[in-house]
């Protein structure tokens, strides 16, 4: 499976024996003169759906307008004095968080107008325009295999300091380390497989640590990021 990451790179994930639940979700950090701004890029409708699932929707104050071929929605949370702003495109959506209440929709429109946004089925790209002073920094791509594990992929450049010193086990997707978290009695709490290759560092985190299917998923997953 090949998809497009928000920074324009191609993310390729092959060899998973079980299907992923849905499409990929990304967190992208954009760095500029004013510091970093975080954007979540998810399948269209996710933010609304999650907030309804969590039961937050009723207490939120919703603003909505139509802009740039999509809907621009702000979800204001009076309890925590913060506003989640979302642009919902035909296939994917971009959301970010702004502190404070009564934030006009124009604020998010200004933020997004610094990018060339291209929304397609294979992924949304959010590329800074020349002169915007912004550039892509960290990136995290996540997906889930139902009832089994979550998969988180980062570019290798950002994972350099988290690489284990020891030699990993050679698997199809690179070198693999298994990280077990146990309590004092030796009971397994969580189990994570960490698979590293030339372009990506992937964490596969199980929901049930003793699930035997999990390690075969981690061992056969091959991820790569390319330009």
């Amino acid at each position: 499976m090949k998809v497009r990451a928000p920074n324009g790179q191609t993310l390729s994930v092959e060899g998973n024996p079980l299907p992923f639940n849905g499409r990929w979700a990304y967190i992208a950090w954009l760095f500029g003169q004013g510091g970093a701004q975080r954007f979540n890029i998810t399948p269209a409708g996710s933010a609304e759906l999650i907030s309804k699932e969590l039961g937050d929707w009723q207490r939120l104050k919703i603003r909505e307008a139509s802009w740039n071929g999509g809907r621009i929605v702000s979800m204001e949370d009076p309890e925590h004095a913060g506003t989640t702003m979302v642009w919902v495109g035909p296939h994917n959506e971009i959301s970010s968080y702004v502190g404070g209440v009564g934030v006009p929709l124009e604020v998010f429109m200004d933020m997004l107008s610094k990018f060339a946004i291209d929304d397609a089925v294979e992924g949304l790209t959010l590329l800074p325009l020349a002169g915007s002073g912004l550039e892509h920094g960290r990136l995290l791509a996540t997906n889930v295999i139902d009832q089994l594990c979550s998969v988180q992929i980062r570019p290798i450049a950002e994972a350099a300091e988290t690489l284990p010193r020891s030699q990993g086990k050679q698997v199809r997707g690179g070198s693999m380390w298994r990280l077990d978290d146990r309590d004092d009695q030796g009971t397994l709490l969580t189990r994570t497989a960490y698979v590293v290759n030339d372009t990506t560092a992937t964490s596969v985190i199980t929901y049930q640590p003793d699930d035997p299917k999990f390690i075969s998923v981690a061992g056969s997953l091959t991820c790569s990021l390319s330009n």
């Binding site: 104050k61 919703i62 603003r63 909505e64 307008a65 139509s66 802009w67 740039n68 809907r71 621009i72 702000s74 404070g100 009564g102 934030v103 006009p104 929709l105 124009e106 429109m109 020349a130 002169g131 915007s132 002073g133």
Partner: protein, 173 residues
């Protein structure tokens, strides 16, 4: 003879070295100019444009509120219905709903003027819909704002003083 050739060689070498310096200085200037250009493009505030439209001039000294909507956005329909249901009754000004097609069916209140005019809509250059634009009696645009909810529409209609920065004003309100 040999010494002359030697000195020539040394001189030409020195010349080359000097050329390198000159060239790098030139490159540096070019880089600086490029950076300045990028800064100028991103940082410079846009020139203030005074927009005005003769269609929204009024003789009675009252401002005109223009709600710009599109048939194809359901929130536009909601805002228009809210306006039609009496939200504009307290507003001190003329009420206009502008769209390219279809919005006249949404309006039953005689106090609201529907204008179906794609050309006028294009001339306004409104990016997000629904938007509310306020015009002074002489047809000058005072401000424009995206209307995200019915409450926002009420708030914006109640702003009676002319302000250059309705965004900041709404945050305070």
């Amino acid at each position: 003879m040999q010494s002359a050739i030697n000195s020539l060689a040394v001189l030409s070498f020195l010349g080359t070295a000097l050329l390198f310096f000159a060239f790098s200085a030139l490159l540096k200037t070019v880089r600086e100019l490029q950076a300045a250009l990028v800064r100028a493009q991103s940082g410079a505030p846009a020139p203030t444009v005074i927009r005005s439209n003769a269609r929204f001039r009024s003789d009675d000294g009252l401002p005109t509120f223009v709600l710009v909507v599109s048939e194809h956005c359901d929130k536009c329909r909601d805002r228009t219905r809210h306006l039609n249901a009496g939200a504009g009754a307290t507003a001190a000004g003329h009420l206009v709903v502008l769209c390219a097609t279809g919005c006249s069916d949404w309006i039953s209140d005689a106090g609201i003027t529907p204008i179906v005019d794609a050309e006028l809509l294009g001339a306004l250059g409104v990016g997000a819909m629904p938007s509310l634009v306020r015009y002074a009696p002489d047809g000058t645009e005072e401000w424009r704002r995206v209307v995200g909810s019915d409450e926002d529409l009420d708030t914006l209609l109640e702003i009676d003083s002319k302000t250059s920065n309705p965004v900041a004003m709404e945050v305070d309100a």
